[in-house]
């Protein structure tokens, strides 16, 4: 098992190389010149060219990518354009705030994590019971309610829902503030609901369909034939089996929560990774964009590794498979 985890950790490396290359290329080809944005409006072309040289932007694409990975030493005495490269977890300073980009991310990430965690807990607490009730009472009124609500939840984009919630609860009813910040739990209510809605809907549908499939399995009939009551059949025999695909979806959604936070955080002006990314993209703050995306990619890869490990604890067949994989080869 430990060898499997080690293998999976190593497999994150090629994923990250791919992600960084794509993100780097996209930032490279996107229009806008950071040098021109940093300098005052009346800067001459010579000033801009000199600035580009200091920032290392006059080099070839490949050279710049190498710098990005292994570091860059700026020819200027001002060290703010130098950095040690991604491998040393240093992508330099933000062109805008002149602060080390990873420092800003690490400061803000707990805010995003907090929001995502609340949203995740809320969605799991709502969706799994809803999915189970829906599946075990198929075609009943409660099933209909869950199905309709989850369809609604799926069809509402986060930015729209966020604005509607603000309009109702902040503008009209004045119950919750429209600006969210991590030190005020009450202000988190609306963004958490916004973030959790789509996930709750997806997970509820997933739980329902997975559960419906499992309760038709032969071993559920065996469990009933033992004389177990229906509640125990569901809890002990059906639920764990049905949760296997749900865990996959939840894992993917943790990633989505982090990304979905971009929209939600923007709507509620919440100081998280999402707002960092949006600001950085708007200002063509290349180091900050690269650092944020790489960071989110690492978190996403780790979360999915955790999901795969969780499988092994739910399903002994998968555990055996993992162990066979590392023993056999």
């Amino acid at each position: 098992m430990i060898r499997y985890i080690a293998r999976r950790l190593l497999m994150i490396i090629p994923v990250l190389i791919g992600v960084t290359f794509i993100v780097f290329s996209l930032t490279y080809i996107s229009p806008g010149d950071p040098a021109r944005m940093i300098l005052p409006q009346d800067a001459t072309d010579a000033d801009i060219a000199h600035m580009r040289h200091l920032m290392g932007l006059d080099e070839s694409f490949l050279m710049q990518y190498v710098h990005f990975l292994f570091g860059f030493k700026s020819p200027s005495e001002d060290s703010s354009f130098s950095y040690k490269g991604l491998l040393a977890l240093d992508l330099g300073r933000s062109y805008v705030s002149n602060r080390p980009v990873f420092k800003t991310i690490l400061e803000r990430f707990p805010n995003t994590a907090l929001l995502s965690l609340f949203a995740l807990v809320l969605s799991v607490l709502l969706s799994i019971p809803a999915g189970i009730i829906s599946a075990t009472h198929q075609y009943s009124p409660s099933d209909m309610v869950v199905s309709v609500l989850s369809l609604l939840g799926l069809s509402m984009p986060a930015f729209w829902l966020g604005m509607i919630l603000i309009w109702i609860f902040s503008v009209k009813l004045r119950i919750f503030p429209s600006l969210a910040n991590p030190n005020n739990l009450k202000s988190l209510v609306l963004p958490v609901i916004t973030l959790a809605t789509m996930n709750t809907a997806v997970q509820a549908r997933m739980t329902r369909s997975s559960m419906l499939e499992i309760i038709r399995q032969d071993y559920i009939r065996t469990a009933r034939a033992k004389g177990l009551d229906e509640k125990k059949v569901i809890r002990k025999h059906a639920l764990n089996n049905a949760l296997i695909p749900v865990v996959t979806v939840i894992g993917l959604q943790v990633g989505q929560l982090l990304v979905g936070a971009v929209l939600t955080e923007t709507v509620f002006s919440y100081p998280g990774i999402g707002t960092i990314m949006v600001d950085a993209i708007q200002r063509k703050d290349t180091p900050q964009i690269l650092a944020s995306v790489v960071f989110v990619a690492i978190v996403f890869a780790l979360v999915n590794l955790v999901v795969d490990i969780v499988y092994a604890f739910i399903d002994p067949r998968i555990k055996a498979q993992y162990e066979g994989m590392t023993k056999g080869k």
Partner: protein, 331 residues
């Protein structure tokens, strides 16, 4: 020893859906003594499994419904008792073995847990006792008790079926229903599993209903045989007599469909045609469209059960309504 354990009277079970009513079991009657054994034989769709589910109370909740008759088990009518009382009988006094061992065990629980569970729910043992007993049960079906901590995927098909047998017999049930217990297994394992069922049945004095489409399987284990066709028992009697001298044309057809080494035949004679659509019940004899002896009368007059020398048969030929043209004479 000779007391009646199970008595099914005119059992009728239907599957009711929005657009049709499937007449799966149509008024069958069957008796089983303590320690006795009966084989239910018939094609797919004859209502064998539905009969078993009716006894177990495991019919699909939304569609399956017992619409008539009674199932008297130890003096109680199983069709009338409430679900929680039925639950105490299920797995405890009546157990069932299912067709496909590959999918009948929960993949994420150890086999030991799955055996112990049935003992725990019926309150026959505490948790520790149940686990110890689960080990005993495994040994009884020929699996080393150390393997109780393993998961179903670590067992072969034959061993899984033994585990299922261990679950079914753990509470020492009065009645065991085995639904095609060997169909999914290969032939050598089939013989082992059948021998085991037979031995354990004798050892524990369990009564047995063995469901199979395979007459050979039933022949190895059962004293009596009931031939089912389209939800009816068309012939019932002691196994040997039924096999040697079938009274119903359908039984005769079934026997003719078995390859037999002692007969110098190059071709088997299968029963022509298909079983009728169970959602449409035609008048007259249900087997008439496929019966080689059918006459005009068979299309209008439904046969009733005729008792003849300790055997039951449902055919107009034996009611004396039409002439008996079968090769073997039973007079």
């Amino acid at each position: 020893m000779d007391e009646l354990l199970l008595s099914i009277r005119e059992l009728t079970t239907q599957y009711i859906t929005e657009d049709s009513v499937v007449h799966a079991v149509n008024g069958i009657s069957l008796e089983l003594k303590t320690g006795g054994s009966v084989g239910l034989v018939g094609e797919s769709g004859a209502g064998k499994t539905t009969t078993a589910y009716s006894i177990m109370g495991l019919l699909p909740k939304l569609t399956g419904k017992i619409t008539g008759g009674s199932i008297i088990f130890q003096g109680k009518d199983l069709t009338k008792i409430p679900e929680d009382e039925m639950r105490k009988i299920r797995g405890n006094q009546i157990s069932m073995i299912f067709q496909d061992p590959m999918t009948s065990l929960n993949p994420i629980l150890t086999v030991g847990d799955q055996i112990a569970e049935v003992l725990e729910i019926h309150g026959t043992a505490t948790k520790e006792e149940a686990i110890a007993k689960a080990g005993d049960m495994l040994e009884m079906v020929g699996i080393p008790r150390e393997r109780m901590h393993e998961y179903p995927h670590q067992f072969s098909g034959g061993m899984k079926q033994r585990v299922i047998i261990a679950i079914a017999l753990a509470c020492n049930p009065k009645l065991l229903i085995a639904d095609e217990p060997t169909t999914a297994l290969d032939v050598t394992i089939q013989a082992q599993v059948l021998r085991m069922i037979k031995e354990l049945k004798a050892k524990l004095n369990t009564s047995l209903i063995l469901i199979s489409h395979n007459l050979g399987v039933v022949a190895q284990v059962c004293e009596n045989v009931a031939i089912m066709y389209a939800g009816r028992i068309v012939e019932y009697g002691p196994l040997r007599q039924v096999f040697e001298a079938p009274m119903h044309p359908y039984t005769e057809g079934l026997l003719n469909s078995i390859p037999r080494i002692e007969l110098d035949k190059t071709r088997l004679s299968p029963i022509r045609g298909m079983m009728p659509d169970p959602s449409v019940v035609p008048p007259g004899c249900i087997f008439r469209p496929r019966c080689p002896y059918a006459e005009q009368e068979c299309a209008v007059r439904a046969p009733r059960i005729t008792e003849k020398s300790g055997r039951n048969v449902m055919c107009l030929m034996h009611e004396g309504i039409i002439a008996n043209k079968m090769r073997v004479d039973h007079a």
